[in-house]
């Protein structure tokens, strides 16, 4: 270990190099252990505890929280919580899907712009990033207000009673979620599209490919890296999102994020909240596993 080696142009012994590596690694590792690994363990522990009368934790091992999550309660068996979990997955799935569908044309449009204006367009996509999520959710309140054309049109078409805003509703949640997550898909996708080799598209055209075939064989394989990043960046946080569903969906469209928030907030049932969190985490990891299996060779990280 004390032999001299050349490391990126520097003459150094193996021992010294090891020490330096440990030195650089320690702060980050410490941070992760303290604020990610440890709280994670505590969450798991809490999820097996119980709730006292005043919302305090009772340290008795029980599986009650988990049985409650899958539907066994004092009032018999209902699937309410499972529905909420599945609905969250569905909302995340639809949000991701629509964001992808909207991102492709957007990215192609921007990528075709000359470099000078291209970054202006990108900035326009990024600007919402710089605005707080809550503020953006409230902005939708204004847009969907009863006095504005959207609500009036809906009232005219007899979709809502006249004088009603378009929130809270499932549609408002989707609008909010997609506007929130579109840049998460569009930006990584754009970086792939910008570097795309267009001769493959031309080759496909030259070989009589339909537009669908061109997309599947010349565009999708080339943009898959960016698309994957975008899908994961959207899917994972969208599953646990609670601010937007809370503001734009209200009680009408409860998602798992709101449920967890409720347990740690109003209900003061930390143990059940922890159990739902673990449930969500397992669901997320399972989704990623499915995604990974479907797209072999794609790095998730």
């Amino acid at each position: 270990m004390n032999k001299l080696i050349i490391w990126y142009g520097e003459l150094i012994t193996g021992n010294k190099l090891l020490k330096r590596g440990v030195f650089f690694l320690t702060p980050g590792m410490l941070w992760l252990v303290l604020f990610l690994v440890l709280p994670g363990f505590i969450l798991v522990l809490v999820s097996f505890a119980g709730r006292g009368t005043y919302g305090n934790l009772i340290w008795e091992f029980s599986l009650e929280n988990y049985t409650r999550l899958i539907g066994y309660g004092i009032f018999g068996w209902t699937l309410d919580y499972v529905y909420i979990l599945l609905r969250s997955v569905w909302v995340a799935f639809v949000t991701t899907g629509l964001s992808v569908v909207l991102s492709y044309p957007l990215c192609f449009y921007i990528a075709r712009k000359p470099p000078r204006t291209r970054y202006l367009w990108l900035t326009i996509v990024i600007i919402p990033f710089w605005t707080n999520m809550v503020i953006r959710a409230y902005a939708w309140f204004l847009i969907l207000a009863p006095e504005l054309p959207f609500a009036r049109l809906a009232a005219f078409l007899n979709l809502v009673p006249a004088g009603m805003p378009l929130y809270p509703s499932a549609m408002a949640v989707y609008l909010g979620m997609i506007s929130m997550f579109l840049p998460f898909v569009a930006l990584p996708l754009f970086s792939s599209i910008e570097r795309m080799d267009w001769t493959l598209v031309e080759a496909a055209q030259d070989l009589y490919a339909s537009n669908f075939r061109i997309f599947m064989h010349a565009i999708l394989p080339q943009t898959l890296p960016g698309l994957s990043v975008g899908i994961i960046l959207t899917m994972v946080p969208a599953m646990g999102m609670f601010v937007i569903p809370d503001l734009l969906g209200g009680a009408k469209y409860m998602l798992v994020g709101n449920l967890i928030q409720q347990q740690f907030g109003a209900s003061r049932d930390y143990a059940f909240g922890a159990a739902i969190s673990i449930g969500l985490m397992i669901l997320t990891l399972f989704s990623l596993y499915l995604y990974k299996r479907k797209n072999r060779g794609i790095d998730l990280i």
Binding site: T199, L207, Y208
Partner: protein, 341 residues
Amino acid sequence: MKGLSLKGINKTFGKVHAVRDVSKDIHSGEFFTLLGPSGCGKTTLLRMIAGLELQDSGRIILDGEDITGLPAIKRHINTVFQNYALFPHLNIFDNVAFGLRSRKVPGAEVNQRVKDTLEMLELGEMTKRFPHQLSGGQSQRVALARALVNEPKVLLLDEPMSALDAKLRAQVQIELRRLQQKLGQTFILVTHDQDEALIVSDRIAVMKDGQIIQYGTPAEVYDFPKNRFVAEFLGSANLIDGNYKDGLFHTAIGIFELEKPPAWEKGVIAIRPEWIRISDTKPLKNGLRATVTEIIYRGTNLDISLVPGPVRLRTSTYSRIKIGDELWLDLAPKEIAVLNE
């Protein structure tokens, strides 16, 4: 008419006039080459034939059918791209089958045709490999197979050999020529490599600034270049200015006899370095006494520069020439090409 006709093709990119009023008939079964330096418009012309670029004006007619307005997917023309553009996620078989599957050819026929084409190009062993596992020469053959399996009326080749090393390139050029003769299909090649053009083509169109400057068989273009550009772009040439007076060509380095009187009084002649013979005694006609100033040893031959002139000559016999030697050069009248300028 069988074959491809270009009628008055024009194309501009912004202020650049890439292709200017090109009209040319390319016969069916011909190996046609567009030769020119980079930026001369040859690739643009090829892309317009493929349908990947739209001309500003002019018409393209294939076997009597006007295909001017048809997109690439409707043209019975296939292309071998410069970087081959193989689909990286498909194996060799699927790459070659791509065009047939796009046109929904039945599976059994696809298998048979792909197999036959791969075997013809000696790729039978490679069907399950992926493009990144192939060498340059193999990739090039796969690209060729992928285009040929569709039995196109015209095969376009966009500098298909520029990515190969010199030795392989020489071999592939001959193979390509043999393949084209065997298939009897129309091939249109774009290249900036004059050797390649001379080796493979039935006919060459030399392009410059978006125009076809000279057109003919390789021998016609090489032996009778029309102007300085063609003379210098294809091979090298000694270009000698002078005046034609009283049946003789008067130049700064001497007075020469020409085979036929030129159409001008003041103009240029071209002599290829390898057309000049070295003589120990004074030749009967067109002798030039010159001194060796530089010798470049190239293995198979020597390239020698001499004064006055400077005149360059190429020889493979006189290996004992030294710098400073005085030689008689024989510029025989029938070896002199008279340019049109």
